[in-house]
């Protein structure tokens, strides 16, 4: 269906490294509805997640960050969706794997945490039942053994009085507690890959700090790889080894977190950083918003999707789609831009 992209660099790929845990290649997701224009939510995303790594995917609503993960997990359904490309988890292509084998993988080797724990927990089952269900299915634990393990899991995510909490229903728990239960469920089988889609967006700041600290301590030192999907640059700054910035279905910049924040090169990344007020900067620094809205995009086939909102637009932006290329300094820092921001440049004020 889609033409193979000519030798584009793969974000997160390390030359000569052992095979990564997750290899996404040229993933494209198109939503089709009768009588409507097709929507290409994800447009040729490739990325590698090495075992044990913490990877951030940053983007605004509509950038395709969540759809990428849902498609990779086979959670998008088959009707009205076209998915092409490949998603290899430990060698097996998740997109062509029979449903049964996929189900065995999900929950055991790959787990996911969603934004809103209330709508992802079953309201009519106790928390304990929901955790033991996973242990029964994937670990073969039964009865008391399963309950004991479930209690242990709740303890490990910082829920006190775990044995009693097993009997609670989701509505009896607070938002932070529910998200802890979600994390306990996700970790029940010690997955090799944990995908967290906006895990703290629905939570308050102090609770969100607790949850991020918990995620950090759980993946640190373990072989579990974490993919953190978020719109908040602050969250990835403290947590992720590698960060991918998405815009309109494609990765526009990818770098280890330090170079990304110290030397952002895509105008969208610099624009995002300049448009959020920072607590540690003196007051009175004016915010430089990105003009327009995320829906003012150009189809990638006609050039750079960000060009209509970009202050650094040059004629070359409109024409061929820009290619994701390594920057001159670091091979691990990739940018999809014909006129990237270079270090001493400050983003220009957009009218």
């Amino acid at each position: 269906m889609t033409a193979p992209v000519a030798a584009e660099a793969v974000p997160g790929h390390v030359l000569g490294a052992p095979r990564p845990l997750l290899e996404v290649r040229d993933l494209t997701v198109t939503f089709r509805a009768r009588g409507r224009r097709d929507v290409k939510a994800v447009d040729g995303v490739s990325l590698d997640v090495p075992a044990g790594a913490t990877v951030g995917v940053v983007g605004e609503s509509g950038s395709g960050k969540s759809v990428t993960s849902l498609a990779a997990m086979g959670l998008l359904g088959r009707r009205g969706v076209d998915i092409t490309g490949s998603v290899r988890f430990d060698g097996a292509d998740l997109l062509t794997l029979p449903e049964e084998e996929l189900r065995a993988l999900r929950g055991r080797d790959i787990a996911m945490i969603f934004q809103d724990p209330m709508s992802s927990l079953n309201p009519v089952l106790t928390v304990g039942r929901q955790i033991t269900e996973i242990l029964e299915r994937h670990r073969g634990l039964k009865g008391k053994a399963a309950r004991d393990r479930a209690a242990e899991l709740l303890e490990s995510v910082g829920i006190g009085d775990a044995v009693r909490r097993l009997k609670s229903y989701p509505h009896q728990l607070s938002g932070g507690m529910r998200q802890r239960v979600m994390i306990a469920m996700a970790l029940a089988c010690e997955p090799r890959l944990l995908i967290a889609d906006e895990p703290t967006t629905a939570l308050d700041v102090t609770i969100s700090a607790q949850i991020l600290e918990l995620l950090r301590s759980l993946v640190a030192g373990s072989q579990t790889a974490l993919v953190l999907i978020t719109h908040d640059l602050g969250v990835v700054a403290g947590l992720c080894d590698q960060v991918h910035v998405m815009y309109s279905g494609r990765i526009v910049e990818s770098a280890p977190r330090r170079p990304l924040f110290a030397d952002p090169q895509h105008p969208y990344t610099t624009g995002l950083l300049a448009s959020v007020p920072r607590l540690d900067q003196p007051r009175g620094i004016p915010l430089l918003p990105i003009p327009g809205s995320p829906s003012d995009t150009l189809p990638w086939a006609q050039g750079c999707a960000f060009a209509p909102r970009c202050a650094r637009q040059v004629p070359e932006c409109l024409g061929a789609p820009p290619v994701l290329e390594p920057t001159p300094d670091t091979a691990a820092h990739l940018v999809r831009c014909v006129n990237p921001v270079t270090a001493p440049d400050v983003p220009e004020v957009a009218s």
């Binding site: 605004e60 308050d204 700041v205 102090t206 969100s208 602050g234 403290g238 995002l272 007020p277 915010l287």
Partner: protein, 352 residues
Amino acid sequence: MSLLEVRGLKVHFPIKKGILLERTVGAVRAVDGVDLSVEKGRTLGVVGESGCGKSTLGRAVLQLEPITEGSVVFDGQELTGLTGSELRAMRRRMQMVFQDPLASLDPRQSVSSVLSEPLRTHGEKGPYDARIRELLDLVGLPATAANRYPHEFSGGQRQRVGIARAIALNPELIIADEPVSALDVSIQAQVVNLLEELQQRLGLTYVVIAHDLAVVRHISDDIAVMYLGTVVEVAPSDRLYDQPLHPYTIALLSAIPIPDPEVEDRRERILLRGDLPSAADPPSGCRFHTRCPFRQATRCHDEVPLLRVPEIPVEHGGPGHQVACHWAEQVASGALQPQSAAVPAVDRVPTT
């Protein structure tokens, strides 16, 4: 003289039980004794987490919630107890901007109808076309927007319509309840800048209610931090960040992620234990003592701390900085250190 004075404001919502013989069995103390004042032309930020009563406070100031006790004085006039035409006359001087513009705009009303409604309600004579064009221009929308409907706009543009509606009657005070939190990150700055620009052009006074301390600090002159229905600290914006005195403010500030790995790796994060207690049954003494990392064996659990100017060196405190903590002086001087929280701290090996 300040434009808005709030004294001892309480808003309690009764908890009812029984079907036929309804009786009150308790009260949710959403706002429980709040004092605030806002000078003309300035911006007061109100921050706190969900359930702290900040939205109820904003609505109570506009007399949109029944007030249990206390007073709200606007430009020298007491608002509590006003009814009918007297209240309506005051209302045109105070307006509100809501969080979710899609929910606060009627989907069947065109923008021109949305904007002419306040004018009509408050007895302005038509035609309104010129005023609507002027309003759209003020908020940076094209004149053609007048004939369009809310669903035709993006989130940021809808919030602009919401702001245009709020300024239609030339109000003096605008209460903005989470004005940017429903918007995309790249759009938030546009709306924040618009609010600042309008304040300068129209001499508006703002009360900005939000949970995002970074946004609030950017836009506000003074900040009040709320916890469980009470104000725990008030300070000029810069002071609050440089020298937070209340343990809750300290924890709140340390919890906000900063988009800079260098800063993030060096920061010390103070984690709070547990969740917000119920406002129907707030803890005794200091309401924060159940989660406070600085809690002491005496006073905290049985003595209610009052909002006061702490006795600390002028270079740290200064006028306008008030805190409701028994131990603010010791916390400020470093004599008290925070205890560790529920989640075990993990030694982090910095990764590159």
